[in-house]
């Protein structure tokens, strides 16, 4: 993620490495004693013991604490030292030479460290009453901005500092003043909105601030007071003062404060998830003592702030999470109702614009872009695709897309920031959210002694008046994407991908189906052309032969011979007629264009006529035996029924290997039953459903004449009559095809007048 802010200055490497936790000195407003935990013998002491305690440090080191404090204080200290955790015991009231002190205890490097600060009468004032009122105020806070404002106001009122700020760390560790409270009458220069480079608070300071949450400097002009001996006898290193209240601070920091005309300061850490989120920074123009209870109250408030920050953010997060969950649920519902993916995600509210806070969003699916809100134009979107393809992982976020994709310069007002989600890498399916360019000015404060600011793309730096503030105009960037935005985008992945996977599977299946259908059709075409060309060939030969016969002048043409030849020729026409008829039927039946024309007919009569026709034409082939003892009357389409019977019979004849074919017609209850039985080659079990498909043969290698459509046509017609057709077969023995047709007769047949015998129509 690109940052709009300057690099850290190389110059401050000194500051980075300065060991601020072992300064070897303290601020002189208190006294530091380091004791052996068991004997309470003083092993290290600050040199200002004479000022505050009346004894020189040399006189104190090596002595038991009992020699300094009264018995009651000693007892309190011992009790405190036994507390777990130790900090609960602080502060411990201690009396030395009739003066009262607050003692703050902590452990360091094997020693018990006691820091004594003079108590004042002010301390007796219970800050607790105020604190209760503050907590009440905080309880009503519902928005983050209100929390920050309340925090600085209350701490300012409690502490009396001239200026109290909340200083927040950005991702790249530079800071920004996001809230400020001024003591009334203090003047009107505001630090609010100023940014400070990360180097202003170097790494080891940040580390310390995470360990020790409060530090105060009552007077920056203090003279540091050494702690002796310089090295801890136990560790041979200087005493680690990370947790010391009186720790002397880095001179660089003091100079920094002086540059800001700050004479006293206090800062309290706001820690979240063990990381330094920000600081409450307090400044005062003149030296200021901060009594212990006030410090404690402020520290408590800062803690409260941390917790409230957490819970407020979680609350907002939960609310947002719920909204997003609702939107996602709706997407899924739309998808299940058959909406296309892009439709489901973009068309009506709530849509993708409710998942991530933006003004425009585009979805690429199936090679097409669809958008909602304000987005770059179509060609620009497609031009973006090659860059999107380079995405590592599923999500890509940038607040300055033009830095990665030059063409984006042209549409920055719509989308300087891009958050992209890839939910189908091969298909190049993406969701892309756009944030418009956010041209804004960043005001920089900070140490004037600092570095040269490097020019970056999009930044124009100009000094502003006389104060240590520089203005930087940032363009080409959008408002940055938060981790919440990215999480929300990612959350969409399962829905989109689910759809993607389903779609891919669908397409794969369609491809397979298509390939199969094409193969079938191609095979059919080659079979059909053979079937049609053969009778045409015969016709051609026959007519040519007749012509040659007539041309031969040496013999007279016998009329009988001529008649036979003509009959053979005519038979081919009939064959062609049937084949072409089948082809037309197939195309009409397949498109559902046929409509039944039912009339009241007798199936037995119909079958008799079909059998007669087929038997006369068969010549020496197998014959058909008809078994239809009784009339079978019902409401059926006679033309179509004739087709069914004829197709079944010619099928049986083809495969019958010479044996007689049987046709049985009877009535079974409310239905008519037609059975065609042959003793032919039979149908293998795996082919039994297949043979009723178009273009199918039970054994395609057989090269049996015909288009392979007959049984399919039978099935279509039978199903149109709401009937059924089945086959039973044993390979090598024969097959029985059974057609069942519901009768659809109104009233019992015996009461009806003799219905007219309707034969099949001949066109």
């Amino acid at each position: 993620m690109t940052s709009a802010f300057p690099h850290e200055a190389p110059d401050l490497s000194i500051c980075e490495n300065e060991p601020i936790h072992i300064p070897g000195a303290i601020q002189p407003h208190g006294v530091l004693l380091a004791l052996d935990e068991d004997s309470f013998i003083i092993e290290m002491a600050s040199t200002n013991t004479s000022d505050l305690l009346g004894r020189s440090h040399t006189a104190v080191i090596g002595q038991p604490l009992a020699s300094l404090v009264d018995a009651a204080s000693l007892q309190r200290l011992r009790t405190a030292a036994a507390m777990r955790p130790l900090r609960r015991a602080n502060p411990v009231p201690v009396t030395i030479a009739q003066r009262d002190y607050h003692a703050t205890l902590h452990r360091s490097d094997g020693l018990l460290v006691a820091e004594l600060e003079p108590a004042s009468s002010v301390d007796r004032l219970a800050a607790t009453g105020d604190l209760a009122a503050v907590v009440d105020r905080l309880r009503t806070v519902r928005a983050l901005d209100d929390l920050f404002t309340a925090m600085v106001d209350e701490i300012q009122a409690l502490s009396g500092f001239d200026r109290v700020m909340i200083y927040r760390f950005h991702e790249d560790l530079h800071g920004e003043v996001i809230a400020e409270a001024l003591r009334p009458g203090v003047g009107n220069f505001s630090y609010l909105g100023l940014h400070y480079p990360a180097s202003d608070i170097p790494a080891q300071a940040r580390r310390l601030y995470t360990l020790n949450w409060i530090r105060a400097i009552p007077d920056i002009a203090y003279r540091p007071c050494a702690v002796l001996p310089a090295t801890n006898p136990r560790t041979s290193r200087p005493l680690d003062m990370s947790h010391a209240v009186l720790r002397s601070v880095s001179p660089v920091h003091l100079e920094y404060l002086a540059n800001m005309t700050v004479q006293a300061s206090m800062s309290i850490s706001i820690v979240r998830d063990d990381k330094l989120w920000g600081l409450i920074a307090c400044h005062h123009a003149t030296p200021k003592t901060i009594p212990y209870p006030i410090r404690l109250a402020c520290e408590t408030l800062a803690c409260t702030c941390s917790w409230m920050l957490d819970s407020l953010e979680r609350m907002l997060h939960t609310a947002r999470h719920a909204r997003i969950a609702d939107a996602k649920l709706l997407f899924v519902q739309r998808l299940s109702r058959g909406h296309g993916l892009q439709d489901a995600l973009l068309r009506d509210a709530p849509n993708l614009l409710d998942i991530v806070d933006t003004t425009g969003v585009a979805v690429r699916f199936d090679g097409r872009w669809e958008t909602a809100g304000t987005t770059p134009p179509g060609e620009a979107l497609e031009a973006l695709t090659p860059w999107l393809e380079q995405m590592d992982g599923s999500v890509l976020a940038t607040d300055a897309v033009a830095e990665h994709h030059a063409a984006a310069h042209g549409w920055q007002e719509h989308g300087a920031g891009v958050l992209a989600l890839c939910f189908g890498k091969k298909q190049r399916n993406y969701v892309v959210w756009f944030r418009p360019e956010w041209v804004h000015t960043v005001r920089w404060g900070g140490n004037r002694l600092q570095p040269v600011w490097q020019e970056r793309p999009g930044a124009r730096i100009a000094p502003r008046r006389s104060f240590a503030a520089w203005e930087e105009t940032v363009s080409g960037h959008s408002q940055p994407w938060t981790p919440y935005d990215i999480e929300a985008a990612r959350g969409l992945l399962e829905i989109a991908m689910g759809e993607e996977i389903e779609r891919a599977a669908e397409i794969a299946k369609l491809n397979v189906d298509l390939a199969t259908a094409l193969r079938g059709r191609d095979e059919f075409i080659s079979v059909a052309s053979h079937e049609l060309k053969t009778p045409i060939a015969t016709l051609g030969i026959q007519l040519a032969a007749i012509g040659r016969m007539l041309d031969r002048s040496d013999e007279a043409v016998a009329p009988e011979t001529l008649r036979e030849k003509i009959a053979l020729a005519k038979r081919q026409i009939d064959r062609l007629d049937i084949l072409v008829g089948q082809l037309l039927d197939v195309s009409q039946l397949a498109e559902g264009r046929t409509r039944l024309a039912p009339s009241y007919i007798d199936l037995a009569v119909l079958c008799r006529e079909v059998v007669e026709r087929l038997n006369t034409g068969a010549g020496t082939g197998p014959r058909i035996a008809l078994d239809a003892p009784r009339p079978v009357r019902g409401l059926w389409d006679p033309f179509r029924c004739e087709q069914v019977v004829a197709n079944l019979l010619s099928n049986a004849l083809k495969y019958s290997s010479g044996a007689t074919v049987e046709l049985h017609v009877d009535a079974i209850g409310a239905a008519a039953r037609i059975r065609v039985i042959d003793r032919g080659v039979g149908v293998p079990p795996e082919a039994m459903t297949r043979i009723f498909e178009r273009f199918e043969r039970a054994r395609p290698e057989d090269h049996i004449a015909g288009l392979g459509l007959g049984l399919w046509i039978v099935r279509q017609i039978v199903e149109q009559h709401q009937g059924s057709v089945d086959v039973e077969s044993v390979v090598g023995q024969g097959s029985t095809f059974t057609v069942t047709l519901p009768r659809d007769v109104q009233g019992p047949p015996s009461n009806a007048r003799d219905a007219p015998k309707e034969g099949p129509r001949h066109d």
Partner: protein, 125 residues
Amino acid sequence: MIDYDVLIVDDDDDLRQALFEALADESFCVAAAHDGAEALSWLRAGNVPSIVLLDNTMPGVDGLAFRRAQLADARLANIPVVLMTAARPQSVPAELRCEPMLQKPVQLDHLINLVRTYMERRGAS
């Protein structure tokens, strides 16, 4: 060994009959088989035609199978075979191709000339 002029191999009864009679009317000595198996056994029985008119698609031993068997048999390999096919020449598999190939529907005049040519060739050799 009985000499014939033409052997017709085709499963379609009507086409076989038409070809048989048309060629017989031209005074050729004609025989006919309804599939490759029948044709092979007829040839192996010692009958030798000047030319075989072979249909491609037949049940049982089809044109391709007949051709393979014929070419594998030294006694039969040299018998001239003309393929009659409804398909386009390019789609006929290479091992099946013979010169010439006839596309259905075949012209009777052309067929008669073809038979005469092969009879003369045989007469010459």
